[in-house]
Amino acid sequence: MPNHLTLAVAGGRKTQGLVEYCGKATDRKIAVLTFTQTNQQEIRSRLASHKGDCNTLEVMGWYTFLLRHFAQPFLRFKFPKDRVMGFDFEGRPFQFAKGKSRFMDSGNRVYACELGKLAFELMEATPALLRRLECIYDEILIDEVQDLASFDWEILEVLLGSKIDVRMVGDVRQAVLSTNPRGQKNKKFGYAASLEWFRDKEAKGLLTIAYATITYRCRAEIATFSDTIFDATWGFPGTTSENLDETGHDGVFLLHTQHVDEYVGQFRPQCLRHSVSSAKHLNLDFQNFKGVKGATFDRVLLAPTANIENFIKKGTALEATAAAAFYVAATRARQSLAIVIDKVGTSTLPVWAPSD
């Protein structure tokens, strides 16, 4: 079981690495698992152009994987008379729901938020499940592995110990999208703490971790700045930039509110904010931090939260979740990142002002 985890920085071409790997491993039966529809489409089209059609390769979402190989075939090991009749993405069980109604609605559609727990319990209930998986796949590739949540980690742990080779790529610095908003189990892994989990597994000899530290997206200034978002105690290696393009306005800048309109007029950046309720004093065409995961923009204008402001002017460390969100937003930018802030404190970042 040679299991591998590649932790990449933003813009590190993680997905491309997976695609290239699939291109080489032609005789292996491989499942590529992802967490978002867009990501699946992306991988499918890249694979198609990379290696034509290959019937030993399947690309599917994590939920589909759990439904198709866990819940559907083996549900009866928990509920002997039932069948999975569908998938309920939105629904939630009642708070104290027991037995079947804990996992499925009245039409036997499995709740998305309980699928991980159900899948894990079925895995515990019969050895046939893992054996079946081992016969179907030689390798399982997981993209954006940091997005695993709650019981997914238990399932992953079993997979790491199985005959199947597991290859994962992820970015623990940007664990924003959680698969289970309600599940409490393993909450500590939900965000950047998942790194601890992986390091623990590495110590036990279950996998090897490699770091891909080159960003092909962000300019060196932006990369270096993004490295400071997580303090040194995290032990992340530094980022190197391969983006040497010059536009005359490259790097990280601070920006006073009064200059925002002029800045936007001149550089047309993508404006980002934490959420609808933040940066209400700015009337800009915003997108939220969470919504831009995976996206790339030439220029970004960022409206900071109070915590981010404190981080910039006083160097106050951000807690993990906030840091992850900020990291995602900051590393969307290829050439320039402007942060709207009026009091710059001890920050040594250059302040942009319109030239006369």
Partner: protein, 537 residues
């Protein structure tokens, strides 16, 4: 790579109310009277393996007669009585051996209790919820013709994954003895067999070649015709009309290319020849793709010698990774292919031979003419040594029960020198009630009983032998029981002739005279006992 069906479960399909068969890994011979469901079983298996029937879709072919009449009648009766039973459904499940390469079909979506995960496929025909309104309407006045228009069907693996086409690992070849009727000369089954035989590249090559030939027709012979046509103005509109070869898929090579035997097209070959070719094609060793072979009544249309050749071929071709199902009415086929592979079908029930000594299997393979099938199909059996015993016993039975053995479901079979132990073993293996009679040949009955004692239980199977003091064979036993004068009278022989000598010489002749005589006959005790025993067994 072996694909093995380990269990066939059929519920509600035709004569099968709730039927289970546990096939052998290699050879399966299905026997049973007419109507016992041999063809239905094969049909059901092929339905679940292909998700289609005879090349057509299940829903197109579905009709009310697919449903088990008994279940439908129960349903109608209960409905009429005001109860609310669910509409009858059809379910065919094939459980497969838990092999690694079949795991994609593995799951617990089957009817096994307790929950059991194994590879498998199922086909289910059930009322379509989308038509609930119409169904509710129909249910107000239900009758035995179910509204199949409102039914739908699902074909899935035990992993609950919908199957759209037959899984590659489950290739099946069906060889029916029906004559090829389609004008193309190649019926659906044969086409499938041929198709399994050809590599994808070969198929593509043939297809391309055929297109080229068609194109050259259009450019060649048809070209001159078309030149003439163009001046004809035959078309109603202004556009010129021309003849060209049909290049649509309707006229693909599959419908034109047909196997030839000795330069004779397949459809023109003899029926026996046709069957033989199909079998060879399906079972050829290098076509290891075909995993399951089903042969229906190979004895049809074949002379004895051809059948023998054919069975040779079946035996030779059956590779280790094929599972065979052969239905037959022929004892010869059964004995040759091995009695130990027998499944006895009796409408909703199947029993199979368990633990038959390999020596016994070989014994009957060497004597393929012996009517084991009759023995297997009979309700109860009386085994006797020869024809004269057979004739006399029938009379005795009739005297005791006022009923012919046939009418009582008792088949009297003469062993004609066959080893008693082998016959008894077979009877025990199929759990057949049997009474055996034999001559003592001067040996104490108790001693004769010892070697076969393990098959005898005194309830279902017993051995009956006359006392040594009453005579060595049937004839002296009869004399002892009836007295010489009476027997002479019955037989009408002259005082000059010696009775024992005459009877021994004219065995069957004498037996017939005795059997048909209106005069009373006293049966030897062991025969009476046998007649009593078998009636109660």
């Amino acid at each position: 790579m072996t694909i093995v069906i380990t269990r066939i479960h059929i519920r509600g399909y035709r004569i099968y109310k709730d039927f289970n068969l546990l096939p052998n890994p290699k050879m399966n011979i299905l026997v049973g009277g007419n109507d016992a469901g041999k063809s239905t079983l094969m049909e059901a298996v092929s339905l679940a393996l292909n998700g289609r029937i005879g090349g057509g879709s299940v829903l197109e072919e579905l009709n009310p007669h697919w449903f088990n009449t008994e279940l439908v009648q129960e349903f109608v009766a209960q409905r009429t009585a005001g109860k609310k039973p669910a509409l009858p459904e059809i379910l065919i499940e094939l459980y497969l051996r838990d092999d690694d390469e079949l795991q994609v079909l593995c799951g617990a979506v089957n009817t096994a209790v307790p929950t059991h995960a194994c590879p498998g496929v199922f086909l289910r025909i059930y009322p379509n919820e989308e038509y609930q309104d119409m169904l509710d309407d129909w249910l107000k006045a239900p009758n035995a013709l179910l509204p199949v228009e409102y039914y739908t069907c699902e074909w899935r693996s035990f992993a609950d994954r919908e199957l759209t086409k037959r899984p590659r690992v489950l290739s099946v070849a069906t060889i029916d003895s029906r004559t090829v009727k389609s004008s193309a000369g190649v019926d659906y089954h044969l086409r499938q067999i041929l198709s399994d035989h050809l590599e994808t590249t070969e198929k593509a090559e043939i297809s391309l070649g055929f297109r080229t030939v068609k194109a050259s027709m259009t450019e060649g012979a048809l070209a001159t015709v078309n030149t003439r046509f163009s001046t004809l103005g035959a078309s109603l509109l202004a556009e010129p009309m021309a003849l060209a070869m049909d290049q649509t898929s309707r006229t693909s090579w599959e419908s034109v290319i047909t196997p030839h035997v000795d330069n004779v097209p397949f459809s023109m070959a003899g029926q026996g020849q046709q069957a033989a070719i199909k079998i060879s094609l399906a079972m050829k060793r290098h076509s290891a793709k075909v995993k399951i072979v089903m042969i229906e009544e190979p004895e049809n249309h074949l002379s004895h010698t051809s059948l023998s050749t054919l069975l040779d071929r079946v035996e030779k071709l059956a590779s280790d990774d094929q599972q065979l199902f052969v239905s037959t009415h022929s004892t010869y086929v059964l004995n040759r292919l091995g009695l130990n592979s027998l499944h006895l079908l009796n409408r909703n029930h199947a029993s199979k031979i368990t633990a038959l000594n390999p020596g016994t299997v070989r014994y009957f393979q060497r004597l393929p003419g012996y009517d084991t099938l009759r023995l297997v199909l009979a309700k109860k059996v009386v085994l006797v040594e020869g024809p004269s015993d057979e004739i006399i016993f029938e009379r005795v039975f009739n005297d005791v029960h006022r009923l012919t053995p046939m009418a009582a479901g008792v088949d009297v079979i003469s062993m004609r020198g066959l080893a008693l132990a082998r016959c008894l073993e077979l009877c025990a293996a199929v759990d057949k009630p049997v009474a055996v009679m034999r001559d003592n040949d001067g040996i104490k009955p108790a001693d004769l009983r010892i070697p076969v004692a393990k098959w005898l239980d005194g309830k279902k199977r017993e051995l009956f032998i006359g006392e040594v003091s009453d005579g060595r064979t049937l004839e002296p036993q009869l004399i002892t029981a009836n007295g010489e004068p009476h027997l002479r009278d019955v037989l009408g022989i002259t005082p000059k002739a010696d009775l024992v000598t005459w009877m021994t010489r004219e065995k069957t002749e004498g037996a017939l005279l005795i059997a048909e005589s209106p005069k009373a006959l006293t049966a030897p005790n062991y025969m009476n006992a046998a007649a009593e025993f078998i009636q109660n067994a």
